[in-house]
Amino acid sequence: MITLLVHLPFEPTTAVLVIPGVSALVLAFLPGYRLTARLNVLATFLTFLCALSLLIEWPAPGTYLFVDDLNVVFIVLGTFVGFTTSAFSASYIAHEIEIGRLTPAYLRFYHAMYQALMFAMNLGLLANNIGLMWVAIELATLTTVLMVGIYRTPESLEAAWKYFILGSVGIALALFGTILVYMAARPVIGEGHDAMVWTSLIDKASAFSPEMLNVAFVFLMLGYGTKVGLAPLHAWLPDAHAEGPTPISAVLSGLLLNVALYAVLRFKMLLAANQAAIAPGPLMVTLGLLSLIFAGFMLYRRRDIKRMFAYSSIEHMGLITFAFGMGGPLANFAGLLHMTMHSLTKSAIFFAVGHISQAKGTQKLSEIRGLTESHPLLGWGLVLGVVAIAGLPPLGIFMSEFLIVSSTFAREPLLALPLVFGILVALGALMLRLGDMAFGKPTGSTAPVEASYLPLFAHLALVLAAGIYLPGPLVTWFQNVARLLG
C-alpha cells in the first residue's frame, strides 16, 4: 500500500482538480444524505489541504496549468471557504430534508454540482490558457445556475433563468475578448497554443498591437465584469443569491465573484505590460465606484434578508474593483486584503442568515425581529458579521477599507470623496436594518434551531484576528502579490 502511494505521482495542482472532479461523480450516485454530506465535507477538506501544500512549493508552469503568487491566494481562500461552506451546508441541508423542501434525488444532484463547482473554479484559477479559463468559468456558471434553480419554485426558476441569460451574455462577451487577445498575440507569438498561454502572453505583451488589446479589454471587462456583479450588469446577482439554497449564496459571494475578478485582474496585468495600450485602471475605477454607490442606495430598499446581503456583495465587489483599478502597491494590497476579508465575512453572514431564515421560516426582513433574544448565538453572530461587513473597527474590513480610502486620498483626493460617501451610505443602511433584526421584541418562532456554529465563528474569528494583527509572513506575501499586479 505504502509503496503504491510512493509510486503515485502526487501532484497538488492536479489533486486540487481531481479530488472535486471524482467526488462529483461519486456523489452523483451515492444515496443517503448523512453519508453524502460528510463525504462532501471530506472532499472539500482534502482539496483545501492540497491547496495549502501549494503554498510550500509549486510546480513549474505547464501548458495547461500553472501556479503563481497571484492565483495561489485565490485558490487557498477559495478552497477554505468551499470547505467551511460544505460544513455549514451539511447542517443546513439536514433541515431542508426534514421540512421536505429538498428530496434525496435533488440532494444527490446538489452535492454533485457543489463539487463540480469547486472543480470548475479551481480549474479557472489554475488555467494557464485563456481559452481553458473561459471554459472553466462557463462551467462554474452552469453549475451555479442549476443549484440556484434547485427548489423548483417559480421564483427560483425565474432567478435561475435570469442568471442564465445574463451570465451567458457576459460569458459570450468575454469569449469575444479572448478571441481578440489571441488575434493580438498571433503575429508576435505565432499560431497555435502558445498564443493563448498566460505565461507566454505576459512575456511578449509589450509587442502586441495596442488597439486590439484595448478593444479586447473592453469586452473582457464587460464580460467577466457581469460575473463579478458590477453595477450596470449586476441584475442577476440579487435574484441568484435570494432564491437558491443559502450555502450557494455563500459560495457565490465568497468564491465565484472572486474567480471572475481574478480573470479581470489577469487581463489587466496583460494590458499593463503593454506601454501603448490604454490604462485599464480608469475603467475599473468607474465601474467600481458606480457599483459601490448604486448598491449603497439599493440597500435601503431591500425587504428580503438575503437580497440585502447580495447588494452588499455588489457594494464590496465595487470597492475591490476600485482598489485594483487604482493600482500601485498599497491599493493592490488593500484590494487583496479586502477581497479576503469580504469572502470570509460575507460567507459567515450567509451561514448565520441560512440558519436564521430556517428558524424563522421566512426571509422577509419585516418578520425577523429580536434575534439576539430569541436565538442569542445566531443573533450575536449576525451582529458581529454585519458590524464587520459595514467596516467598523476593530474587524478586518475596517482595516482594508481604511487602507483603500487613505491610499486614494493620498493620490486622487477627488475620487476619495465619492468613495467615502458610498461606504457611509452602505454603513447607514446596514446599521438601520441590523437594529431592527437583532434587537427589540422577538417575532415569529423562537424555537431553537440545530445549527453548526463552528464555520460561522471560525470565519468571524479570522476576520477579527486580521483586524487586530496581521502576521508578518502574510503581509509580505500579499505585498509580493500586490507588486506583481502593478
Binding site: 490558457n129 481559452g131 481553458l132 473561459w134 471554459v135 462557463e138 462551467l139 452552469l142 445556475v145 434553480g149 423548483r152 421564483e155 426558476l157 425565474e158 435561475a160 433563468w161 435570469k162 442564465f164 441569460i165 445574463l166 451567458s168 451574455v169 460569458i171 459570450a172 462577451l173 469569449l175 469575444f176 478571441i179 481578440l180 489571441y182 488575434m183 498571433r186 503575429p187 499560431e191 497555435g192 497554443h193 498564443a195 493563448m196 498591437s209 488597439e211 486590439m212 484595448n214 478593444v215 441584475a235 435574484d239 430598499r301 431591500r302 425587504r303 428580503d304 437580497r307 422577509k364
Partner: protein, 220 residues
C-alpha cells in the same frame, strides 16, 4: 492567399450579418425558427470554408456541430416547445421594426469602425471577418434586448453565439475552437432543456429588474 478564397469567406460572413437582420424583423415564432436555421446553415458553410482555406480539418467538426445541432436539432426542438406552450400564434411587438432595424444598422456601422481601425495590423481575411462577427454579436444582443419572450431570447442568444464561432474560426490557427464550440453547445442544450422541462413562459425573462422585484415580496 488567393483573392477568391477571401471573397467567398467575406460573402459567407456578410451573409450571416444579412440573416441576422432578417431575424430582427421576424414577428412570428415559426418564421423566426426557420430564419435561425438558415443562420446556422450559413455559419456552418462559412466555418467549412474556413476549414478548407486554412487547411484546418478540425474546423470541419465545428461546422458539423453547427449544421446538425443548430440548423436541425435545436430548431426542431424549439418548434415543439412553441407548439406545446401554445405561443405559435404570438405576434411579438418588437418595439417597432423600423427603429430596431435602424439601430441595428448603427451597430453594424459601429462594429465596422471599431474593428477595422483596431485590427489595422491583422491580415485582411481575419480583419473583415472579425468586423462581421462583431456585427452578428451586437445584432444578437439587440435582439435579446428587444424581445420579451423566452424562446425568441434564446434565438437571439444563439445568433450571438454563432457570431462568436465565426470570430473564433476566422482567427487563424486558434486552438481550442472545437472545445469552445462544444462547451457552448452544452450551454445552449441546457437552455433549451430548461425551457422545455420547466415551461418557462413569457414575461420573466425580461432583463428589467423592476418586473422581477415586483414579482416577489420586494414590493411594499
Amino acid at each position: 492567399m488567393d483573392r477568391t478564397a477571401i471573397d467567398v469567406a467575406h460573402m459567407l460572413a456578410g451573409g450571416m450579418v444579412l440573416v441576422s437582420f432578417m431575424l430582427l424583423y421576424q414577428d412570428r415564432m415559426f418564421g423566426l425558427l426557420n430564419v435561425f436555421a438558415l443562420h446556422a446553415l450559413v455559419l456552418s458553410l462559412s466555418v467549412a470554408w474556413q476549414a478548407y482555406i486554412q487547411d484546418a480539418p478540425h474546423l470541419y467538426v465545428t461546422a458539423a456541430i453547427a449544421l446538425v445541432l443548430k440548423a436541425i436539432i435545436i430548431p426542431v426542438a424549439l418548434h415543439r416547445v412553441v407548439v406545446r406552450l401554445g405561443i405559435h400564434r404570438t405576434i411579438e411587438t418588437v418595439g417597432g421594426i423600423g427603429p430596431t432595424m435602424l439601430f441595428g444598422m448603427g451597430l453594424v456601422a459601429l462594429s465596422m469602425v471599431v474593428m477595422l481601425r483596431a485590427t489595422a495590423a491583422a491580415d485582411p481575411l481575419a480583419r473583415e471577418d472579425l468586423a462581421f462577427a462583431l456585427s452578428v454579436v451586437l445584432l444578437g444582443l439587440l435582439m435579446m434586448v428587444t424581445r420579451r419572450n423566452a424562446v425568441s431570447q434564446i434565438i437571439g442568444f444563439m445568433s450571438l453565439e454563432n457570431g462568436l464561432i465565426l470570430a473564433a474560426t476566422g482567427a487563424k490557427g486558434m486552438p481550442l475552437v472545437v472545445e469552445i464550440s462544444i462547451a457552448f453547445s452544452v450551454l445552449i442544450a441546457f437552455i433549451v432543456i430548461g425551457v422545455f422541462l420547466f415551461r418557462i413562459r413569457e414575461r420573466f425573462d425580461s432583463v428589467d429588474v423592476q418586473a422581477l422585484d415586483e414579482f416577489r415580496g420586494e414590493r411594499e
